[in-house]
C-alpha cells in the first residue's frame, strides 16, 4: 500500500511536469498521453512494446543479477554484442540440423557473454580493478571486435554494409506476430532468477552480500568466487539476449544495431529502479519499453516529439529517487 503510494506520487509529478512541457509547446497533454498509452498497449502497439521489452527486460535481468549483491556491471553492451556475434558464428558455420544449431547458437551466446563478464570479475579479484571500471572498460574492445568480425571474416558477401550474412531459414527463432519466440527464453530466465533469488541458499548468499559485504565475508561467503559466478551469470544472460537478437529478425548481426537502442542502459536503469528484485525489474523494464514504443506512436499520431518520453522517463526516475525510499542509498561502495 505505502509502496504503491511511493511510486504513485512521483509518477503523478512526472506526468504533471510533462503536461506543463506539452502545454508550453502548444499540445493537448491528454491527447499526447492517450497516444502514448494506445501506442504502447493498443492492438497495434502491444507487439512493438513486447518487441522492445524482450531485450530490455533481458538486459535488465542480466544486470540485476550481480546488482543483487551490490555489484554494478557496466559492461552489458560488450557482453550482449559478444553473445550475439558468437551465436551468429555458430549458426552460420556449425553443421547439423536446424534446431540443434539454434540450441548450440544460444549456448554459444551464453558462454561467450559469461566468459567475458567473468574476465571482468577476474580483473577485480586478481588485479584490483573495481568491477564498475573493469566491466566498463572491457565493453569497448568487445564492441570493436564484433565490428571487426562483421567487417572481415563474418561479412555479408552480397552487401557492402558492416553486417553478417543472414542465418539460413532453419537456424532461426520464429516470430509470433512480430515478437520473437525468444520471449519465452527471457521469461524463463526471469522465472528461474526469481526462484533462485527467493528460495535458494545461493540467492540468499547473494542478497546477504548486497546488504552487507563484510558481514557476508565473515559468514564464509567467498566474495571473489561469488563475483566470478554472478558476473558469469550476468554476462551469460546478456549473451543470451544477444543470441536471441541475432536469431530473430533480421537474422543477422548488424554493427551497432544492439547498441543504438540503448537496451543496456535502459535495462540497467530498470534493474536499479527495482533494487534488482526479479519481478520489479521485469515490471520496470516493460514500463520503459512501453514508454519508448508509445513515444514513437505518439510522434506519428500527434507531432509531439518522442524525446518527450525520454524526458518523462528520466524525470520520473529522478522524482522517484528524490521522494521515495525505493532506492535509497545502500551501503554500497564503488
Amino acid at each position: 500500500m505505502t509502496r504503491v503510494r511511493l511510486v504513485a506520487v512521483p509518477v503523478a509529478a512526472a506526468l504533471l511536469l510533462g503536461a506543463i512541457l506539452l502545454l508550453a509547446t502548444g499540445t493537448d497533454p491528454l491527447a499526447a498521453y492517450g497516444a502514448i498509452v494506445s501506442g504502447a498497449f493498443g492492438p497495434d502497439g502491444i507487439g512493438d512494446t513486447l518487441a522492445y521489452a524482450v531485450p530490455v527486460a533481458g538486459m535488465a535481468t542480466a544486470l540485476a543479477i550481480p546488482l543483487r549483491a551490490g555489484m554494478v556491471n557496466l559492461g552489458g553492451e560488450g557482453q550482449l554484442v559478444l553473445g550475439a556475434i558468437s551465436a551468429l558464428a555458430v549458426g552460420l558455420y556449425v553443421p547439423g540440423p536446424g534446431p540443434v544449431k539454434v540450441v548450440l547458437a544460444l549456448l554459444a551466446g551464453v558462454v561467450a557473454g559469461a566468459a567475458y563478464a567473468a574476465l571482468a570479475a577476474v580483473c577485480e579479484n586478481r588485479f584490483g580493478v573495481p568491477l564498475l571500471i573493469s566491466t566498463l572498460l572491457l565493453s569497448y574492445p568487445a564492441m570493436s571486435l564484433a565490428g571487426y568480425l562483421v567487417r572481415f571474416p563474418l561479412k555479408d558477401a552480397g552487401s557492402s554494409l558492416p553486417q553478417s550474412p543472414q542465418l539460413p531459414e532453419g537456424t532461426r527463432l520464429p516470430e509470433l506476430d512480430g515478437v520473437t519466440t525468444g520471449i519465452f527464453l527471457v521469461v524463463a530466465v526471469i522465472a528461474v532468477y526469481a526462484v533462485i533469488d527467493a528460495r535458494t541458499p545461493a540467492g540468499f548468499e547473494t542478497k546477504v552480500t548486497g546488504w552487507a559485504p563484510r558481514f557476508a565475508t565473515y559468514a564464509g561467503i567467498d566474495r571473489p568466487k561469488l563475483t566470478v559466478r554472478l558476473l558469469a551469470l550476468s554476462g551469460g544472460t546478456a549473451g543470451l539476449v544477444g543470441a536471441i537478437a541475432v536469431l530473430g529478425f533480421p537474422y543477422r548481426f548488424i554493427d551497432g544495431a544492439l547498441i543504438t537502442p540503448q537496451y543496456t542502459w535502459i535495462g540497467l536503469l530498470a534493474a536499479l529502479l527495482a533494487g534488482a528484485s526479479p519481478l520489479g525489474t521485469l515490471l520496470a523494464a516493460v514500463f520503459f519499453a512501453a514508454l519508448t514504443s508509445g513515444g514513437f506512436a505518439m510522434e506519428r499520431a500527434t507531432q509531439v516529439p518522442r524525446e518527450l518520453t525520454a524526458v518523462l522517463q528520466a524525470v520520473l526516475i529522478i522524482f522517484l529517487a528524490a521522494t521515495s525510499g525505493v532506492f535509497k542509498r545502500k551501503a554500497r561502495r564503488a
Binding site: G128, W265, E307, K330
Partner: protein, 285 residues
C-alpha cells in the same frame, strides 16, 4: 608517426575529458560518487552553443555552459544529498535525461534535429603558443594545479577530504557536510560545463546529439586511474588522449579502425593493472 600535430590533437581531445575527470576527482574526494559526468558534459555542450548563438559571444556561451551544467548537476546534488538517493541510479538517470533533454531542446530552441550549427556561430578560436588550441585548453591545465592547491593547501581542501572520509566526524567538528557536498557537485557541474564548452565551441563549433560520445565515462575511468588526485587525473587523461591520437596514426598505416578504436581502452586497462601491481607490493599478503 610522432609529431607536433599528434600532441596537438591529443591535447584538444583530452581537454573535455580532463575537465570532467577533475570534476569527478573533486566529488570523489568529498565522498560523492559521480557518474553523471557524461550528462553534465552534454548539457554543457548545449548550453555553450545556445549561449553563443543567442548572444553572438563565445565567452557568454562558456558562461551559459557553466551555468547550465551547474544547474543540471543539482539533480545529483538534491537527489543524493537532500533526499539520500542512490548516486548510481541518479547518475545513470541523469545521463539518459541529458540525451533526451538536449534532443528535445534542439527541436524546441533551434527548430532542428540531430545537430545545430551555423557559420556565424561564434567559437572560442585559437589562442596562445600551441596552434589550434582554445583558451579553455590552457584553463584546463591551470585547473590542475589550482585544484591540487585547493585540495592539499587550502583549509577547504582539508575539510573536503575529511568530509569524504568520515562525514559524521567532519560534521561533529562544525563542518557543514551538506554544504561541502553540494559545493563539490556544483563545482563539478561547472567544470563539466567548461568541458562541454570546449567540446562544442573549442574542439568544434556546433552541437550534435549525444556529441560527448562516451567522454564522460572515460573521465570516470580517469578518476579511478588517477586515484582522484588532480595530477594523477591529468596523467590518466593524457594517457588516454595520446593512446587515441596514436590510434589514429596506426589507422594510417593500415590497421583496421576497429582495432585502433579499442586501443585506448586496452591501454587504460593495462595501466590500471600496472598501477595496482605497484601498489600491491609492500603490503601484507
Amino acid at each position: 608517426m610522432i609529431d607536433a600535430s599528434l600532441f596537438s590533437s591529443a591535447l584538444t581531445a583530452l581537454t573535455p575529458i580532463l575537465f570532467a575527470a577533475l570534476a569527478g576527482a573533486l566529488c570523489q574526494r568529498a565522498g560523492v560518487f559521480n557518474i553523471s559526468l557524461e550528462g553534465s558534459l552534454l548539457v554543457g555542450c548545449f548550453g555553450a552553443v545556445a549561449g553563443s548563438w543567442y548572444t553572438g559571444s563565445a565567452w557568454i556561451g562558456v558562461v551559459v555552459a557553466v551555468l547550465a551544467a551547474t544547474a543540471y548537476s543539482l539533480i545529483l546534488a538534491i537527489g543524493s544529498i537532500t533526499f539520500d538517493g542512490d548516486p548510481i541510479v541518479l547518475g545513470v538517470a541523469s545521463n539518459l535525461l541529458a540525451v533526451g533533454l538536449t534532443s528535445f531542446l534542439i527541436r524546441t530552441v533551434f527548430g532542428t534535429e540531430g545537430s545545430f550549427s551555423d557559420p556565424t556561430l561564434q567559437g572560442l578560436g585559437q589562442f596562445g603558443p600551441i596552434p589550434g588550441q582554445s583558451p579553455l585548453v590552457y584553463l584546463s591545465w591551470l585547473a590542475v594545479p589550482a585544484l591540487a592547491v585547493l585540495l592539499y593547501r587550502h583549509p577547504w581542501g582539508l575539510r573536503l577530504r575529511g568530509v569524504g572520509e568520515r562525514p559524521e566526524a567532519a560534521s561533529s567538528l562544525g563542518v557543514d557536510v551538506t554544504k561541502y557536498r553540494y559545493g563539490v557537485i556544483l563545482a563539478g557541474g561547472a567544470l563539466c560545463g567548461l568541458g562541454g564548452a570546449q567540446l562544442a565551441l573549442g574542439s568544434v563549433t556546433l552541437f550534435a546529439e549525444n556529441m560527448t560520445a562516451g567522454r564522460g565515462w572515460i573521465a570516470v575511468v580517469a578518476v579511478m586511474l588517477g586515484r582522484a588526485h588532480p595530477l594523477g587525473v591529468l596523467l590518466a587523461a593524457l594517457l588516454f588522449g595520446l593512446a587515441e591520437a596514436f590510434g589514429f596514426r596506426l589507422q594510417g598505416i593500415g590497421l583496421p579502425q576497429q582495432a585502433t578504436d579499442a586501443a585506448p581502452y586496452v591501454v587504460t586497462l593495462v595501466a590500471l593493472f600496472l598501477s595496482n601491481f605497484k601498489r600491491k607490493k609492500g603490503q601484507p599478503a
